[in-house]
Symmetry: C2
Subunit: 303 residues, 2 copies
């Protein structure tokens, strides 16, 4: 713990593993660390595969460093072993580049539990915060629900598009147009980027959130500095730090934690308690309906 608070990378990596695996000391570590948190600001980067999220992050990192941030990156990968393999190469590349720049990089796998990934990300952000990192960038895969969950635990969400491969339509379907505080059209030098820009402005420029919509090219570097500086400005705005947003994030966290415990309790009951096995059998035989059974189950576990 003392190592972690001093910013020692190995202590930090160990603490993250314990917390992410929910090891026996996880609770203790998180409770000890909590009072040392509150300095880090957090940025989510999301978007479909191939739009260039990692390249864009690699470009903005040195600019943020010049602005004085100490940076850590959490890369959220899908749990799937199939996809895992596809993403691994990207990760290795990012790790190498970031090591040179003294950026701490950590991959996390998304989980099945309610708010599973939000929980991991939230807890790892706290560890990084306590270890002295002042900007935590969370990169996620652009696969629907996971991104929405992550957008709820970071201060700002950047959604990345590219003019290739019809990503915009996919992204709309996946609900990505509703979670961004900033939209970046990457590969802004490619054909189709202006029409993509225009259609995104049409779609979301006037939503209540009034997100920034910018063009950039991670490849040439064009527009990247503007993206970073704009993000820095937004991060410094009071509305994105503490206050109402933090309160909402915290209430969601409390709810997730309690619901996870309740879920564990119900699973155990269904698995181990003979009374509930009988209830399930009765429903299958149409002797009881699931709606009444749920009422009974609720009465049995809630005060």
């Amino acid at each position: 713990m003392r190592g972690l608070l001093k910013g020692d990378r190995r202590s930090l990596a160990r603490a993250i593993s314990i917390v992410d695996d929910e090891g026996p000391d996880s609770h203790t570590i998180l409770r000890q660390v909590f009072k040392k948190t509150g300095n880090a600001r957090t940025l989510g980067f999301t978007g479909a595969g191939g739009v260039g999220k990692s390249s864009l992050i690699e470009r903005v990192v040195p600019i943020f460093q010049e602005l004085g941030y100490k940076i850590a990156i959490i890369a959220v990968d899908p749990t799937s072993p199939i996809t895992g393999g596809a993403i691994l190469g990207d990760r290795v590349r990012m790790q190498t580049i970031m090591d040179d720049q003294k950026v701490f990089v950590r991959s996390l796998a998304s989980r099945g539990a309610i708010g599973g990934i939000s929980k991991s990300v939230r807890n790892v952000i706290r560890l990084l915060d306590a270890a002295g990192y002042t900007l935590v960038i969370v990169e996620s895969v652009g696969a629907g629900q996971v991104d929405v969950q992550i957008s709820e635990v970071v201060n700002l969400t950047v959604v990345v598009f590219s003019p290739q491969s019809g990503d915009s339509i996919q992204a709309i379907k996946a609900g990505l147009t509703e979670i961004g505080d900033m939209y970046v059209i990457n590969k802004g030098d490619l054909e189709g980027s202006t029409s993509l820009y225009n259609s995104i402005v049409d779609l979301i420029g006037n939503t209540p959130r009034k997100p920034s919509i910018m063009k950039a090219s991670a490849k040439s570097g064009k527009g990247v500095k503007e993206v970073a500086i704009n993000l820095d400005k937004l991060l410094r705005l009071k509305g994105y730090h503490r206050t109402d947003l933090e309160k909402k994030i915290l209430e969601a966290e409390l709810k997730d934690m309690v619901l996870n415990k309740v879920e564990g309790k119900i699973s155990a009951m269904l698995r181990e308690d003979n009374r509930y096995r009988i209830i399930v059998e009765k429903i299958l035989n149409k002797e009881l309906d699931p709606y009444l059974a749920a009422d009974q189950l609720e009465a049995a576990i809630l005060r």
Copy 2:
């Protein structure tokens, strides 16, 4: 209710609206209907936008009707008002075609609550089942989590791909390769369909589920009959009806229902109970940590 059980479409439509809006009579209707259920089999169709799910469904419907099924379709649309508009045209087209064929079509919007869409779909399937439909097809948008949830409430899931627009990679990211009992490469006459077929066989042909992988063309009709007949066979297999699968679906439903109630209770506590407002303030001021607070909250609501 009597109208619904006799198969009257207007009574059915009304009951679906009440149940979907969770109106005051919702619980009563579902409880009354439950004992009349158990005959319908259910098929999910999912895949990215533009792969031709609706066209494929329109093609298989008459074949299933010849096989003796009475068919209803549930179209699950994203909640987003942006996407809603884009999909509307498709729905109107399907509705018109299906009306001619005496197929009952109903759109449902996906929801924010835990298992929100599974719950709606499950309940609407029961109403359709009680109204005499013997095959319920659920079409969803191919947007990650929603499809996974739907695959857990239907007997069989068909994932549709097309060789256009790099869908396969998107689909892999979205986890679609893990939920299918059958994979159909639609637009099988287009260039790239054979290589897409081969890569899907490579990726998932040998997963434990051993899904069928088939080529078809909704446009020309080629391969469509084989798809329908294969699905009919699978639906008749004992493993896909009642038994373990039904039990798992039911346990998940019970859990969802109880968790939804618990979530409502926690939200109300956080919103209305002064004690919890104080807890949140204390955490924001680092006087209390969220992990201890969650334990306290849990103790306050659970027996």
